[in-house]
Amino acid sequence: MIASLYLIALVLQWLFTTVQTYYVEKFGQSVLEELRARIHKKIITANIDFFKDKKTGDLVSRIINDTGMVNDVLVSGLLGGIGSTLSLVGIIGAMLYLDVKLTLVVLLSVPVMVFVAKHFGGKIRTAYRQTRREIARISSVVEEGVSGIETVKAFGQERKVEEEFEEASKGAVRAYIKVAFYMGLFWPLMNISSLLSIVLVLAYGGYLAYMGAISVGTVVAFIQYTQRFRGPINEVVSMYDSLQSALAALERIYEVIDDPNMEVFDGIRVEKLEGHVRFENVWFWYEEGKPVLRNINIDIPPGTTIALVGKTGAGKTTMANLIMRFYDPKRGRILYDGLIGTGINKESLRSRISYVPQETYLFPGSVMENIKIAKPGSTDEEVVNVCRQLGIHEFIERLPKGYDTPAGEAGKLLSVGEKQLISIARAMLKNPDIVILDEALSSVDPKTESLVQHAILKLMEGRTSIIIAHRLTITRHADRIIVIDNGKIIEEGGFKDLLTRRGKFHELYSSQMTVKPMVER
């Protein structure tokens, strides 16, 4: 009877722990999923200012590693911690029920175990962290040595890189030996302290049994109980320590989630713009006291093209950033079709503007997917049509796998200028009302150059266009050219106008064009 009850209890306990393990883990994982989603969402919807002092790797590590750390404590805390505490309480309760004095004597070994677990546990974890750091160092040496293999070989740097690797590798060896040292002390000491409780039972229990105060059965039971001590105590103590690192990780997560630099998506939504853009007394600075734009006034009528010209740092890109509403003017305002920019919903505004940056960012995936990203849900035909219109269909087809070429491969094959073609296709697919184009600086071969020019002109057709012109050949196609210097407009007018005026534009233009006559000697 008792035996079958015991068996039932055993099976029930197994059933319970199995179900408990599963559901606690499931709960932990769903919290984790939510946490990852929240921090990622926060990052993606933060405004541009948020990113200026952040590194991608650090943010990613918060999304992936820190959340994992929190979860480890959450799950093992709920499972291990609570479970261990419960079993400790259960064991001690049962012992107290059997014999109070003997229990108290046995518990003498507990402080020893706690001390060992705490003291060495911490040291082991620190040493482990050191091994992780050394391994990370090994990876970065390999990463560098392999990514730069051409340079390594061309400059005979093999030995130098090998020395770095050797050093990192030796560091890892040292760290591992340190771990082994502390682990080597930790487990035997835990073992001895747990044996100590058995010996205490034998000595004191033996004495009590000798005196006839308790039964042999009690002593035997105590010996069994004391052996189940070690695991839970170790678990509870290590919980305390990982709680510390979990709190640190949680802090790093909330640092991001609570960051005030949020993009605010309020204001009226615009469905369609005519494309009238107007700068009114616009001032802007990134740092107080260092204005980048000073009192800019421009009126861009719908469907016209203006070219912004000026040296690096003159403020051209800032103007594009303001039109995109990555930033808002510090003074003055920008009007879109007569509506004040700050009153328009950013997302709706940006979906009416296509921005073609100088450097095209390719997302993982195929070239096709990279173009489609501009208009999620668009079909392959749409993309192909757009590329045909732009005259770049053949160009993409010539890639190793055409539209299916992976971005990584395409990124390696294509020059900056050629990659910009993908940006232009993205821009076109969006079918925007306003186009901002930051012309790619670096050279492409003559054929691609005319391809890019053709595509740009096609994209600008019938749309309000703002070109940030680095190479001035393209300014010929602008209705108006605005020359900016040091944040101020210093010249403004048509292409021929400005050339005949023989001012700053003429100076810039002729300095660029001199390269050509030189070739003709």
């Binding site: 599963y22 992936i64 390999v142 051409e150 000798y210 190479r471």
Partner: protein, 583 residues
């Protein structure tokens, strides 16, 4: 398969040969350790039977003392075994890792063309870690656990064969459960790790491309994609939880059942006087002592294949690398006149298509040669072959009349400096990056090289000037800046031959003009081969070669080529056409 596995295991263990003594001592200590550990339940038995039951306090204390003594011995054995073994294993892994890395560095460029960086990193970190784990921990656990189980079973049989059979049955069931557990959960954990990488990649790309995301106003789409991968990771984790909640807890049930069976039969036996209370306690203690070693054994056996697979991947890299950099009869060259001859050179990358098809030309000492042509015509490959990053499939390349393959690589590197189109900047200070080929260069020399390469002013404006760390952990440089640092790097080495791959791409017009003008002076007295689509460089070239589809289609001086009105003329016209349409 099995013999292959054995061979790999033997080869892996061969790496321990340097520390044979330490390793052997560790193994002996491990066996002693399993002995001291398995004797403790016997001592407990005696303490109970001879001490407690007989109410003999002296015996209780005596055996208590013996237990502590066994514990202390066990501790000493365990500590020293671990220490010796880890030292031997770490030495082995260290040498294995060094061998692998050296082999990676010795590999030819074809190897790098088809291997991803991430894979190689994973070889020297993850695979090496797995092997570390095996040599330093799992192997010890394997010996310890097997001996522990065997010795424990021996004692159990001496006490009660009947109960011992229960123990054996339990051990077999628990072991096989654990092996199944290990086999089932590992692939899921691998998928979890992979999916974590996918998620990290997803967030990396969305954060690195945040400006594009915002400009396209596709935040929702990006969030959706992340959400999908995030969910997948969740799903995989739940799968893992399902397996581990069942297989992780069931052994406890089995052992619990076995212990109750022992209590049942043992109780009867005690009443029948064929078993003592101490013996039954010893049995129960054995079951507890064996719980963890059984789990370890299951995992080690389940994992064996993966460890050997990891070792195999490292051995493959080591075996596939050329043994030395140079052939035995390679000659040392201290200086060269700088004559380069291509003699009917054919070349194809591993992909198979012929990139160069019978190219022959001669560059006189001190001559400046410009190679031009459309993308894919094989221009850059010519430079890579001269730099000896690749070897021709057919034909010869001669330097001062000597076959390139017969010259020591060290010599070649003193004589030839190569500036690739996308130069690699190391994660070190700018000073170190420039003085790569001449580590003892003075700061004056470095500054001078930087001035000529038109990068000095930009360097000066950086927070710590020449000591600024650039690259991954430091300041990122633009394409043009990297290129100019690489040019400074090449100039500082003061080579006889200089190879420039598109040195003016990524430069704005003004800098391009200035750099081209300066190149003329810099290259005085040196042989230079320059590859470019920018014909502005024609100005400094003595001769021009036009490549098309891997063949030389035109060759000559700028004026002559223009007069010929051929391919060069066409290229020149399209380029000028873009400019002229403006005028």
């Amino acid at each position: 398969m099995a013999t292959k596995g054995l061979r790999q295991l033997r080869r892996l263990l061969g790496y321990l040969s340097n520390r044979k003594v330490e390793f052997t001592v560790a193994m002996v200590l491990v066996i002693l350790m399993s002995y001291t550990n398995s004797i403790i339940p016997v001592l407990i038995r005696d303490a109970i039977d001879l001490g407690i039951v007989k109410r003999d306090l002296d015996n209780s204390l005596l055996y208590g003392g013996l237990i502590i003594l066994a514990g202390i011995f066990n501790g000493v054995f365990s500590f020293s075994a671990r220490f010796f073994q880890v030292r031997a294993a770490q030495d082995a892994v260290y040498r294995l890792r060094m061998n692998t890395f050296r082999a990676i560095q010795r590999q030819n460029m074809e190897f790098f063309d088809k291997t991803l960086v991430g894979q190689l990193i994973s070889r020297v970190t993850n695979d090496a870690e797995r092997i570390t784990g095996f040599l330093s921990f799992r192997m010890r656990m394997l010996v310890y656990s097997s001996f522990l189980v065997v010795i424990s079973l021996y004692y159990m049989f001496t006490m009660s064969p009947r109960l011992a059979w229960i123990a054996i049955a339990t051990i077999l069931i628990v072991m096989s459960l654990n092996v199944i557990y290990a086999r089932k959960v590992r692939p899921i954990y691998d998928m979890v790790r992979h999916q974590t990488g996918v998620l990290a990649g997803e967030s990396t790309s969305s954060i690195a491309g945040i400006k594009t995301v915002k400009a396209l106003a596709v935040e929702d789409y990006i969030l959706g994609k992340f959400g999908k991968e995030n969910r997948e990771l969740y799903r995989l984790n739940i799968d893992a939880a399902r397996v581990s909640s069942i297989y992780g807890n069931t052994p406890f049930l089995i052992i619990g059942l076995a212990m109750s069976a022992m209590l049942f039969y043992g109780g009867k036996a005690i009443i029948a006087n064929t078993l003592t209370v101490g013996e039954l306690t010893a049995f129960l203690t054995y079951m507890l002592v064996m719980m963890w070693p059984l789990r370890a054994l299951g995992f080690i056996i389940g994992d064996m294949q993966r460890t050997l697979a990891a070792a195999n991947r490292l051995f493959e890299i080591i075996d596939s690398a050329p043994k030395t950099m140079d052939p035995v009869d390679a000659i040392e060259l201290f200086d060269a006149k700088g004559e380069i001859v291509f003699d009917n050179v054919w070349f194809s990358y591993s992909s198979g298509r012929n990139v160069l098809r019978g190219v022959s030309f001669r560059v006189k000492p001190g001559e400046k040669l410009l190679i031009t042509g459309l993308p894919g015509s094989g221009k850059s490959t010519v430079l890579k072959l001269i730099a000896r990053l690749y070897t021709p499939v057919k034909g010869r390349i001669l330097l001062d009349g000597v076959d390139l393959g017969k010259i020591k690589q060290d010599s070649l590197r003193r004589i030839i400096a190569y500036v690739p189109q996308e130069p690699f900047i190391f994660n070190r200070s700018i000073r170190e990056n420039i003085s790569l080929a001449k580590p003892d260069a003075s700061i004056d020399e470095i500054v001078k090289a930087a001035e000529i390469a038109k990068i000095h002013d930009s360097i000066q404006s950086l927070p710590e000037g020449y000591d600024t760390i650039v690259g991954e952990k430091g300041i990122t440089l633009s394409g043009g800046q990297r290129q100019r640092i690489a040019i400074a790097r090449a100039l500082l080495a003061d080579p006889r031959i200089i190879l420039l791959d598109d040195p003016v791409s990524n430069l704005d017009a003004e800098t391009e003009e200035a750099l081209v003008n300066d190149l003329k002076d810099i290259l005085t007295g040196k042989t230079a081969v320059i590859v470019s689509q920018r014909l502005s460089l024609a100005k400094i070239a003595d001769r021009i070669i036009v490549l098309s589809n891997g063949r030389i289609v035109e060759e000559g001086r700028h004026e002559d080529l223009l007069a010929r009105k051929g391919v060069y003329y066409e290229l020149y016209r399209t380029m000028m056409g873009v400019a002229r349409s403006v005028n």
